[in-house]
């Protein structure tokens, strides 16, 4: 596992392969790799460069056919001076922090603890139901939530809360943030749930039995044994989902499109997307949108590299079963 392969030097008990053989082996390997390499270059590398270049221009649908005009960092200064910049930044922080703490980590942890403390099959069943939102096509999933939060007399919440004397209202319109967070949280929680529950199930039973014999309460067992044992999955899910939440906008786009009203639930990633690709009036400001997007790309690259280091992904890079006959 920890052994790291270095170079393709000769192996014990074998004559060193000739230069020609080595070259042939490398060419053969890259032959296998070539389709993947081409696609990665065209759809990951090239776009990062294009995004940066475009963010330095004033390219928009009104001057698409003209040659590119470079305006240096003007898009970036414009971004910070945008009247709605503080609002969008605040929204983004609020959205990521709340969804992450309440659902992607918080709810996931609570559910993982609950489903591992009950009958195994029942626990599996509940985890499966929680996977449903993720697997349901986003358009249909949002359709359900829209009806749940719809105005009277159609909304499900109104009907359920009516016996308790709650005033019927158009929930999605009155409480857009509540539903943006619920919608994303119900999808996001399953990731942590699955990882946490397999980590909890992997904790040696002896530890817990020993604690029980010593008279520890359930809460003490959770606090002193379970949580410390799953700290790595916890840290992983927290950082990983921070990045996912920061950059994902599909459900918000479908649910509120950033509204109701001006930028009520608009987040950074949605702003970039809307400015560049889907404006109401068909005026796409690619250059300006690219500037918003490129900030996220930088954050994405930095954080992915940090994962690689912090979580020792390098150790996953196993020794290959090399060409030794």
């Amino acid at each position: 596992m920890a052994e790291v392969i270095t170079g393709s030097g000769p192996v014990k008990g074998q004559s060193p392969p000739s230069r020609w053989a080595q070259l042939k082996a490398t060419l053969g390997a890259w032959g296998f790799m070539s389709p993947a390499v081409v696609l990665v270059l065209v759809f990951f590398f090239l776009p990062v460069i294009i995004l940066f270049v475009i963010s330095l221009t004033d390219l928009s649908s009104s001057n698409f056919s003209e040659p590119l005009t470079f305006i240096n960092l003007e898009n970036y200064t414009r971004l910070f001076k945008d009247k709605f910049f503080p609002k969008i930044l605040g929204n983004t922080f609020f959205y990521v922090a709340t969804t992450l703490s309440c659902f992607n980590v918080g709810m996931a942890l609570v559910l993982a603890l609950l489903t591992t403390h009950i009958n195994r099959r029942a626990g599996f069943f509940f985890r499966l139901i929680w996977l449903l939102p993720r697997i349901t096509p986003s358009v249909i999933y949002i359709l359900m939530w829209r009806r749940i939060s719809h105005q009277p007399p159609f909304g499900l919440i109104n009907q359920l809360l009516a016996p308790f004397g709650v005033e019927p209202q158009y929930w999605l319109f009155e409480q857009p943030w509540l539903f943006v967070i619920l919608v994303n949280g119900f999808v996001g929680a399953s990731f942590g749930l699955i990882l946490f529950s397999s980590a909890i199930e992997a904790i040696p039973k002896d530890l817990i039995t020993a604690a029980k014999v010593d008279g520890a309460s359930t809460w003490q067992i959770i606090r002193d044994i379970t949580l410390p044992q799953i700290r790595w999955p916890l840290l992983f899910v927290t950082t990983y989902q921070t990045l996912s939440l920061l950059t994902s906008f599909e459900y918000i786009l479908l649910l509120t499109e950033g509204g109701p009203g001006l930028y009520r639930t608009e987040v950074w990633a949605l702003t970039a997307y809307k400015r560049a690709l889907k404006t109401y009036f068909g005026h796409n400001q690619w250059g300006y949108g690219a500037a918003w997007g490129f900030v996220l790309v930088i954050i994405g690259i930095v954080m992915s590299i940090i994962y690689l280091r912090v979580f020792r992904f390098n150790e996953l890079v196993q020794e290959p079963k090399i060409d030794v006959l």
Partner: protein
């Protein structure tokens, strides 16, 4: 600490029962929005209209079950978008399966200059949020459109272009999963074949691929579902109805200016959900593991 007696056991019998039941109660409450959403969808599909969870007939009374919502099945448009969705799903299965199992084979079995860097890169890309690149990919597709033969099939506003983008963005996950499957495979048979003089490609195609069918199947189901349900990428890179897939078509129905017929849309949604639910029911355990091991985490 050490004062547990048998007495406490019996005295707190009721409390213990509560302790047993409480997790179930909490879990059932937690899944209620999901259950409600699905319940509404099923009821709405077969009713005239709904208020809350109640089906309502034309006069406003409870009742009014109907199959009227399924009339959309006679509209050729629905079959066109179904076909598009199906092509996307199959394209994902074949494309990701083929490209990633080739790359993963080389990464798992061969030693070549650049192997480690590419593997690290795969991991970085796997964590990297690819949706942030959509703006730039718009320009890549626009450029592809201008290339004569290719543009017609893989440019902007084509099913091929959308499929190509989706395949590429899914590759890091595919390569990573497949490499795991290859690594767990003993390589005796392969070695024998290689000694007998078979080419690498033949070994890969005739010996290795049949051995990792379970892994390929897992990846295929995952990719079929993501291709079938894809919304954001088709929505971004297609215009109008000509190349819309089913989720995009549904979105158009919802945001039409005419009063939205929610019950008909519910039926379209149900129609689209059928294959998803079939896979879900029959491949639960596998899906749980793939989503845990590979998923971008959605949100």
């Amino acid at each position: 600490m050490a004062t547990i007696t048998f007495e406490t056991e019996s005295r707190y019998g009721a409390r213990r029962f509560l302790g047993r039941a409480l997790p179930y109660v909490l879990l059932i409450i937690s899944i209620s929005p999901i259950v409600l959403g699905y319940a509404w969808l099923i009821i709405a599909t077969f009713s005239y209209r709904t208020e809350g969870l109640f089906p309502i007939d034309a006069e406003g009374n409870v009742g009014g079950w109907t199959l009227r919502n399924w009339e959309f099945l006679s509209d050729p448009a629905i079959w066109r978008v179904t076909l598009t969705s199906f092509i996307l799903a199959v394209g994902m299965v074949v494309g990701v399966g083929f490209v990633s199992s080739m790359a993963a084979y080389a990464l798992s079995r061969m030693n070549f200059a650049g192997r480690k860097s590419f593997l690290s890169l795969t991991l970085i890309l796997h964590a990297f949020p690819s949706v942030t690149l959509l703006i730039a990919i718009f320009f890549v597709l626009n450029f592809l459109s201008k290339i004569p033969a290719i543009g017609q099939w893989f440019g902007y506003n084509t099913v091929g272009g959308v499929a190509l983008v989706m395949i590429s963005l899914d590759l890091p996950l595919g390569i990573w999963l497949m490499k795991g499957f290859f690594d767990n495979l003993s390589w005796d048979m392969e070695r024998a074949a290689l000694i007998d003089g078979a080419s690498r490609f033949r070994v890969w195609w005739e010996i290795i691929i049949p051995l990792i069918k379970p892994g390929l199947a897992a990846l295929a189901i995952f990719n079929f579902l993501s291709g079938w349900s894809a919304f954001l990428i088709p929505f971004t890179f297609t215009v109008g109805t000509k190349v819309a897939n089913m989720p995009v078509y549904m979105r158009q129905l919802i945001s039409d200016t005419a009063p939205t017929n929610w019950n008909m849309i519910a039926a379209v949604g149900m129609f689209q959900l059928i294959p998803v639910l079939i896979f879900f029911i029959f491949t639960q355990e596998m899906l749980l593991s793939v989503y845990a091991g590979g998923s971008k985490g959605g949100t």
